[in-house]
């Protein structure tokens, strides 16, 4: 049992990190009253932007500088997801478009953008490599502490991950602190709960919405970057990221808008995501694996229903979530 957990938990955590980035980003976004269904697209764009950056860098020099090899993809990723965030804000905040529709369009666009450049990047830059495999860059991203392997089970459970995994936890904790213990966080929550009141006390509603959504998108984009660079060892394959973006959005409700809870919940979901690999099915009944893959979605649905049945006041979404704010319409 102990050996099983020792093998299972690190893999669950690795699966959970992209979800954690996505859900932290989406929580910050939703706290400002923006329901961004474009997060799956943003995560794709973040991932592919990082891939493009490091692909160009790896092909331009023979000797990679470790600092640049990490910084270039990260900056590209942040820039790509920031642009997506700005697009969403421009449409929903400035132009007051419907948030659901804008989000879905962003997901269509983002997933298409990722798959297009993932599938055509080599042709577009006339490179002669057979596939996008950024193993050199990836090795910097997935480097764990050198003494981790010497510390036995403790090292394996807590120290065997690349730096982005720890960054995810740090960001989630910071977001939690920011939302609950700072004045800016209070203002942000006010904007999400009731923008009229927030406006009346002199909070710049549009600015808060812009900043929160863009920062949220940048955090979510890092989740995509982590997936490609660390989890997938720098190999891009189309649609491999799959539905994790949607699961991240579901996690926001699962954790009732709390980034610190999201840390545990993401790892739990990461575990549910791969649990089918550990339930014995026998060789001639592989089909049951497909049913076990259903578990995370069924659990989310059940949690969704249970929280709505209990309907506690403190567990409710931000009051004005999904509603555009127009001062003249008060």
């Amino acid at each position: 049992m102990w050996n099983f957990l020792l093998a299972f938990i690190p893999r669950a955590i690795v699966q959970g990190v992209p979800l954690l980035y996505g859900s932290t980003g989406e929580i910050i976004t939703q706290k400002s009253g923006n329901l961004n269904l474009g997060i799956p697209g943003v995560m794709y764009v973040g991932a592919i932007s990082g891939v493009i950056g490091s692909f160009l860098y790896e092909n331009s020099t023979a000797n990679l500088n470790p600092m640049l090899a990490i910084l270039i993809p990260m900056l590209c990723c942040l820039l790509g997801s920031l642009l997506m965030g700005l697009l969403y804000c421009f449409l929903t905040v400035t132009l007051r478009a419907n948030q659901n529709v804008t989000g879905l369009a962003m997901t269509t666009f983002g997933v298409g953008f990722g798959n297009f450049f993932g599938g055509s990047l080599i042709k577009l830059v006339d490179s002669d490599v057979p596939s996008i495999a950024l193993s050199a860059t990836s090795s910097y991203f997935s480097k764990s502490l050198p003494f981790a392997s010497k510390l036995g089970w403790f090292g394996k459970l807590f120290l065997s991950y690349g730096f982005l995994a720890y960054l995810a936890v740090a960001i989630a904790l910071a977001a939690s602190y920011f939302l609950n213990h700072t004045r800016k966080g209070l203002h942000l929550r006010a904007v999400g709960e009731n923008p009229n009141t927030a406006d009346a006390v002199g909070i710049n509603v549009s600015r808060y919405k812009y900043v929160a959504t863009c920062v949220g998108c940048m955090i979510a984009g890092l989740g995509g970057l982590y997936y490609v660079m660390d989890y997938a060892c720098g190999v891009w394959s189309n649609d491999a990221f799959g539905d994790r973006g949607w699961l991240a959005i579901a996690l926001v409700i699962f954790t009732i808008w709390r980034p610190n809870l999201s840390i545990l919940a993401s790892f739990l979901f990461g575990g549910l995501y791969i649990i089918y690999l550990y339930i014995p099915t026998g060789m001639d009944h592989m089909e049951y694996q497909e049913l076990y893959k259903m578990i995370p979605y069924v659990v989310t649905l059940v949690v969704l229903v249970v929280t709505s049945v209990r309907s506690k006041r403190e567990n409710q979404p931000p009051e004005s979530l999904g509603v555009p704010y127009f001062r003249e319409e008060r």
Partner: protein, 365 residues
């Protein structure tokens, strides 16, 4: 006034005359197409006129291509129509994907399990009933939770998508032919049992006819029936609906059953009439695209014909370009995304207008 007045401010318009609002949208679409053309020229290096020519050739180049374009159009239209009544009452059903899949699965199940037991005239009605019932059931579940406990429908329908996908994946392995291949292949290839009939000797016409009929029925249902009226009232304000004695819960459940049922019908057409097989990508993202099509048409079934045409046209055209230049087919999604952004953005100029500072001062004087 010591504080500087802003350069412009935003004023809500009265309703624009229809030709102006159509004009604004047309300008947005043209701008989007120009941007798409420029983008294509940059990525592929062909000159812009050729880009539009090959987009057109991709959609209507040959007779067969035209038919496939129309067939794809009819399926997307059907899904968008299915989602429309739900949207009209502000129920964000983004579970079209799952409802189509489950309808297709039910049709496929009938074809596989009953294919050699029942003759076609009995089998096909059974398939129709099964897939409609399956789709309706898939729509009913989130609606029930929404009506009873106000569960967030966006996420519950989304989760239902993945549950349906995994169910299909499960049965794909149960029914795989040959064993170990991981796919079902063409069902009943020799007996053609359960294949929907060809009408007027064309294998493309059936789904087109169904889509036309459903469009007209949906238009009548939404605009000229009591149910349609109740849907609009619930969509505008649940409190008003309650006040005038409409049972909101009942309307939600009833509308979602209808929504799911039509999605199930689309699944039936895909499995029984077009693909003759089931895969987990049966719906191919059209459950999501349908949301956008429906919204672009402002929930009007007749306008939806044009909006779904626009999407399918670009999709087929971009497919042609990407095949010709060895690019990834997702190119279509990028172009679709750009057009959508423009259309979403242009709505602002239909409902609001900008008043610049000078003009505003004049009005004050």
């Amino acid at each position: 006034m010591n504080k500087k007045e802003p350069f412009f401010h935003i004023v809500k318009r009265d309703a624009l005359p229809w030709y102006q609002s159509v004009g604004v949208r047309a300008i947005a679409i043209v701008l989007a197409l120009v941007l798409c053309g420029i983008l294509t020229t940059i990525t592929t290096g062909i000159d812009p006129i050729e880009v539009y020519k090959s987009i057109f050739a991709g959609a209507f180049g040959t007779e067969r291509k035209t038919w496939i374009t129309l067939q794809n159009l009819s399926i997307l239209l059907l899904i968008a129509l299915a989602l429309t009544p739900a949207f009209k009452m502000k129920f964000w059903n983004i579970g079209g994907e799952g409802q189509v899949l489950i309808g297709g699965l039910a049709a496929g199940a009938c074809m596989i399990c009953l294919g050699d037991k029942l003759p076609n005239p009995v089998l096909i009605p059974v398939m129709v009933l099964a897939s409609i019932a399956a789709g309706a059931f898939w729509g009913f579940i989130p609606a029930f939770f929404k009506a009873k406990w106000n569960t967030n429908e966006t996420l519950s329908t989304l989760m239902m998508n993945y549950i349906a996908t995994q169910l299909v994946a499960f049965y794909t392995i149960v029914w795989e032919v040959p064993k170990g291949s991981g796919k079902i292949g063409i069902i009943n290839q020799n007996s053609n049992a359960g294949w929907l009939p060809q009408i007027f000797g064309s294998k493309y016409l059936l789904s087109i006819v169904v889509a036309v009929v459903v469009t007209l029925l949906m238009y009548i249902y939404l605009n000229y029936s009591k149910h349609g009226y109740e849907i609009s009232v619930v969509g505008e304000s649940e409190n008003t609906a309650k006040y005038v004695g409409i049972k909101v819960e009942k309307v939600i459940v009833r509308t979602m059953i209808l929504s799911g049922a039509i999605c199930g019908l689309a699944g039936l057409l895909l499995v029984g009439g077009i693909n003759h097989t089931i895969t987990t990508t049966l719906a191919g993202g059209q459950g999501f695209t349908g949301v956008l099509v429906s919204w672009m048409a402002k929930f009007n079934p007749l306008t939806m014909v044009f909006s779904s045409f626009l999407i399918i046209f670009m999709d087929r055209g971009a497919g042609e370009i990407s095949t010709a230049f060895g690019l990834n087919h997702s190119y279509a999604d990028i172009l679709t995304g750009i057009i959508l952004f423009f259309i979403i953005g242009c709505e602002f100029f239909i409902s609001y207008k900008l008043q610049f500072r000078k003009k505003a001062e004049k009005e004050v004087q």
